[in-house]
Amino acid sequence: MAGVSLSKIVKRFGAIEVVHGIDLDVAEQEFVVLVGPSGCGKSTTLRMVAGLEEISDGELTIDGRYMNRVAPKDRDVAMVFQNYALYPHLNVAENMAFGLRIRRVPNAEIKQIIADTAEILGLTNYLDRRPADLSGGQRQRVAMGRAIVRHPKVFLFDEPLSNLDAKLRTQMRAEIKRLHKRLGATSIYVTHDQVEAMTLADRIVVMNDGSIEQIGTPMELFNNPVNTFVAGFLGSPPMNQITGKVTETGAQVGDTVIQLDRDLGGLAGRDVVVGIRPEHVSLQPGEGTTPLPISLDLVEPLGSEALLHARFGDDNLVFKTDTNGQIEHLSGIDTVHVPASLVTLFDAESGRTLRAGG
């Protein structure tokens, strides 16, 4: 296995620059997820690593080797595509063997590798079937099998689960995680689904408009987003963001001053965005909490939890709360309690997180 290093990588299509000099180091055996909205450059970045797109500027190394002008086949990477890219005329075994046949691996060896991989992926009974005769999940497994059989240095995944339904996606997510633990392969995974990013990644790279916004572990990004974009992108539902102003005693939103557990005296008077995670509020007052009056619009029961859609001034807010099997009591909610330690403040102008002392 090997590490991957991107240094000041730029991608231009004609005069249009779509990736603006990104830096990223993926350690050996690490599972890194590139996440961001459509058009943020995450797939283009992955394709540059694969060699499917030329690198306009910057330097790419895999296992310490300069790769910019190395052909895809010589980079020792394997890629799993969004639409699986299975050859419709070949059966499962032949699909998985394709890369090995191209590399002239002896037949007996191919047979053994296919059998072993099929066993890992639970495809042994489907080896004679063609892709058209498989379910979405099975096709996805074949696509992964095709990557695994090559024993590449780096696995690249380009939104591999986006064509699956929600249930299957959850199942396949767990399978990918298990597989990564078992194979210990360096992996770069692209998705626009923040749940996939949070559950799979050792580290998440949040991209926006061709640049990296933040790199960190899932919990680092969840708890300490560097700006409103990352805060709004990670978490489901996303972080509530209310415009306000820093005061001597806290952050004022509307007529309410939300208490904070840090001293922001030096920032008094500054316009801010107050970030409150939906799951961080409570329905009962507690130590260090501030009551926030809301006007409840809608209760969405999810089973063990419920989403409260509410209005606060001009802002639409969403809160998440446990139901304990009951939702009737939620319809009368007119106040939620915001804990001082879990409020994030962002500069209203730049969107960047404000720490104590500015």
Binding site: A50, G51, L52, P72, K73, V77, A78, M79, F81, Q82, N83, A85, Y87, P88, H89, L90, F98, G99, I102, R103, R146, R150
Partner: protein, 308 residues
């Protein structure tokens, strides 16, 4: 009481809802009726002693007499043999030509060069067969033709290509390829354009070169289209390009050039034996029908691809 949801009421409802689509279909249906189904009424003259003055309905039945005449006629058998020979050569050389061209076009990366090359090879399709025949006759002329001029440079005496029976089939098949291969490649280019690009990207990552991608991805992926076109071609195996044969052949080359359609034309229109010509035409149609059914069922059995 609610109306009964019968098949008839469902059909009427469907027609009311989708009448615009059926209206668009109408000209095609009319065309089929007028030009393909109505003439079938006249097929009965293949079993009659047809007279223009008595008309189709009043001509007396003669059973299979015309078929007996046909099958005892050496010239008819020669025409059938020539038809099959020319069609077989067309199938062997003419059928793969557009596929090869399409694969070659697909490998051209320079957009302008590709468009120019495509335009050049599509052009002959739009030229009338009469002009095509004129070009061929001129090119193979023993006095001023470019072919004989080139042969002359190599010290070879002029050959009277179009009067020699052994040269008719190669010239005819070659002309057909020149005229139609380019235009015929469009359908295969369309099929190639439909191949999922990520199959190629995946193959590139796996280490395949362009040659391997062509053999292992492009050709297998367009195989259903190739098979459909082959079935259609087999259905037309008895239909050799009638105009071009008429324009290029002459009595000296009848032994290899006279095909069923030209024989029917001479017997039916020039000699006035419409009933015998109808019998020959019916024979042609039955053979084509059997062939296309057989090809379709074989294709369905072995490749899961079929016309119906």
């Amino acid at each position: 009481m609610a109306p009964r949801n019968t098949r008839w009421t469902r059909a009427v409802d469907h027609l009311k809802r989708e009448w615009q689509i059926y209206l668009m279909l109408l000209p095609t249906i009319v065309w089929f009726i007028v030009f393909l189904y109505k003439p079938m009424y006249g097929l009965q003259i293949a079993f009659k002693d047809y007279s223009i003055f008595r008309g189709v309905a009043n001509s007396p039945w003669v059973g299979l007499e015309h078929f007996e005449t046909l099958f005892s006629n050496d010239q008819f058998f020669r025409a059938v043999y020539n038809t099959i020979q020319i069609s077989a050569l067309n199938l062997l050389f003419g059928f793969p030509a557009p596929i090869i061209l399409a694969l070659m076009f697909n490998e051209i990366l320079h957009a302008t060069y590709k468009k120019t090359a495509q335009t050049i090879v599509y052009l002959p399709h739009f030229i009338s067969s009469v002009i095509i025949a004129g070009i061929v006759i001129t090119a193979f002329s023993p006095t001023a033709g470019i072919v004989n001029t080139l042969l002359g440079w190599l010290g070879i005496d002029p050959i009277y290509f179009l009067t020699k029976p052994e040269w008719f089939r190669p010239i005819f098949v070659g002309t057909g390829i020149w005229q139609e291969a380019g235009f015929g490649s469009i359908v295969f280019l369309a099929a190639i354009a439909g191949v999922n690009p990520s199959l190629y990207e995946s193959a590139v990552v796996d280490g395949a070169n362009r040659w391997q991608m062509m053999w292992r991805i492009t050709i297998p992926c367009i195989l259903p289209t190739i098979l459909i076109m082959l079935i259609i071609r087999i259905g037309n195996i008895m239909e050799v390009s009638f105009e071009l044969v008429i324009l290029l052949y002459q009595p000296a080359t009848y032994s290899t050039a006279d095909v069923v359609n030209t024989w029917v034309y001479r017997q039916g229109l020039q000699s006035g034996q419409y009933d015998l010509a109808a019998a020959a035409g019916l024979f042609n149609a039955v053979v084509a029908f059997v062939l296309v059914m057989a090809a379709n069922s074989l294709s369905r059995r072995f490749s899961r691809t079929s016309l119906w």
